[in-house]
């Protein structure tokens, strides 16, 4: 053990540069192409279509009036996404646990879950508005619908993945259902649950923005802001808002990776994609 870590140490320093350098190079290339498109391809009259990076930074990020608008609406959407995610987690856990307890429940529920997953969210937006209005509630509903499926599927798969021999061991020692769930099935399921959570967290952010795009009442989220900037041809602000939305998605992804590492990293070989 000690021998191996001693060999690995010099390697980690090198692999850090190896890991950081390629995305930096690619990112710089990307910014370069952006400038090229802005100044080389677009005539000044049409340059509003793609503002050069430094103008986006100046107008979108450094102008506090604009940036605070973006941050506020981003915060509003973040709240929607988190509430939606928490509700989806609760519903998803309850359904997955029920399904794991009896095959018949699984067979009964599963087709409907697949159907729910298959419904294009845009197709039911009018229905959601009809039932829940066009306020915060509808945005949350979109988040829940869009992020529920991966949680159920992954949690169920995880609960069912507990080792056969361990199940036998728990049977031999007369463990009841609750004990079996708490001490065997749920911990076994954690890696799969986290895999599902990361997918769903990303989806709930998308859900919040999509929902916000269609439902205008209440606190305006980032979707409303994007739509306004686009309508008013505010290219710099629009790009800044897009970048911030992406940053939110990345942050959520990293946060759940970190959470996963904290929760199960000690015993599970996880591939978080962030390490």
């Amino acid at each position: 053990m000690t021998g191996r870590s001693a060999i690995q140490k010099p390697g980690t320093v090198r692999s850090l540069t190896e890991r950081i350098l390629p995305p930096i190079v690619l990112g710089s290339g990307f910014v370069g192409i952006w400038y090229l498109l802005s100044y080389g391809l677009l005539e000044p009259r049409r340059r509003f279509l793609l503002r050069p990076p430094h103008e986006v930074v100046q107008v979108g990020f450094l102008d506090w009036d604009n940036f605070s608008d973006i941050l506020l609406s981003l915060w509003s959407s973040t709240k929607v996404a988190m509430i939606g995610l928490v509700i989806a987690i609760c519903i998803g856990f309850i359904l997955a646990i029920m399904m794991s307890q009896a095959k018949i429940v699984e067979r009964a529920i599963f087709p409907f879950m697949v159907t729910l997953q298959a419904i294009p969210i845009l197709a039911i937006v009018p229905l959601i508005a009809f039932w829940f209005g066009t306020g915060q509630r509808s945005r949350v509903v979109v988040c829940v619908i869009i992020s529920l499926f991966p949680i159920i599927v992954n949690t169920l798969f995880g609960l069912q993945s507990a080792d056969r021999g361990l199940h036998d061991l728990f049977t031999l020692h007369h463990a009841d259902r609750v004990t079996r769930m708490r001490k065997l099935m749920f911990p076994s399921a954690l890696p799969a649950i986290f895999a599902g959570l990361r997918i769903s967290a990303g989806l709930s952010v998308i859900g919040a923005i999509v929902g916000d795009f269609f439902f205008g009442k209440g606190d305006a989220g980032i979707g409303q802001l994007l739509r306004r900037y686009a309508n008013q041809l505010q290219g710099e602000e629009l790009l800044a808002a897009v970048i911030m939305s992406s940053a939110l998605g990345v942050t959520v992804f990293l946060a759940f990776g970190w959470l996963q590492q904290r929760a199960i990293g000690r015993w599970h070989e996880t591939t978080t994609g962030v390490d």
Partner: protein, 252 residues
């Protein structure tokens, strides 16, 4: 199940004309009768797929035999599986405490008996390690320690060392033999290794290919403690040869 238990004698296990036919029609076991008393270590050797594991599942009560009966003291059964079957999210200490926990033993007492069992299998110093940091042999030791915590009067082993290398296996055989001598349980051991069977047991039963029947029985009278050198003894080799011969015959 209840009627079986009333007839059971502490520390003993008895098969009485036990047969097993699975719902799909496969006959796994046919007319098995033998007993294992306290202080006996009985090993069943047989070709793979002969129903050895089914025999243990029936002994433990995980499976109901389709004919005949089994009497066993199953209150605190020791069962060592083919794999270590550890909880990955628990340390060695946590894993060894599991069974006592399932039986509602208080945390202090649990800690004490776990420490004792860990010491017994030679895992002291590894209490805080997670299974992923252990070698195959150490995982198996941990699994053994877990089974030992309840001081089981009946101990079932389902080819526990088949996945570890030869040297580790011999070490674990020594340990198992030592535990058998100190804990004085009734042991039923399943393996397909003849030398392991002869080395460990007071009695070796040879099982035929499916449907499994007991086709031969050997009393192994070497004195305990049996030293590793016993494996090079001519009489040991001769016994192994005899068992092997019966095993070959069982294929016909």
């Amino acid at each position: 199940m209840e009627s079986d238990r009333t007839g059971s004698v502490i520390g003993s296990l008895a098969f009485e004309e036990t047969g097993m036919v699975f719902p799909d029609g496969t006959e796994a076991l046919q007319n098995i009768s033998f007993t294992v008393d306290k202080g006996e270590f009985v090993t069943v050797v047989g070709p793979s797929g002969c129903g050895k594991s089914t025999l243990l599942k029936i002994a433990s009560g995980l499976l109901e035999p389709s004919s005949g009966s089994v009497r066993a003291d199953r209150d605190q059964l020791g069962y060592v599986f083919q794999d270590a079957t550890l909880l990955d999210w628990r340390t060695v200490q946590g894993n060894v405490e599991l069974l006592a926990e399932l039986h509602g033993v208080g945390s202090q007492e649990r800690e004490r008996i776990a420490a004792e069992a860990i010491e017994l299998v030679g895992l002291s110093g590894f209490e805080g390690h997670y299974p992923r940091a252990l070698s195959g042999g150490m995982k198996m030791r941990c699994s053994l320690a877990r089974s030992l915590t309840l001081k089981p009067p009946v101990f079932l082993f389902d080819e526990p060392f088949s996945a570890v290398d030869e040297i580790t296996r011999e070490h674990l055989n020594d340990e198992t033999q030592r535990l058998f001598r100190t804990e004085e349980f009734a042991g039923l051991f399943i393996t397909h290794s003849i030398s392991e069977a002869v080395f460990l047991s007071t009695r070796v039963l040879v099982m035929s290919a499916r449907p499994g029947r007991i086709v031969a029985e050997f009393d192994i009278s070497f004195d305990y403690p049996r030293l590793p050198e016993l494996r090079f003894d001519p009489s040991f080799a001769e016994l192994c040869g005899q068992v092997s011969l019966k095993l070959r015959g069982s294929y016909a």
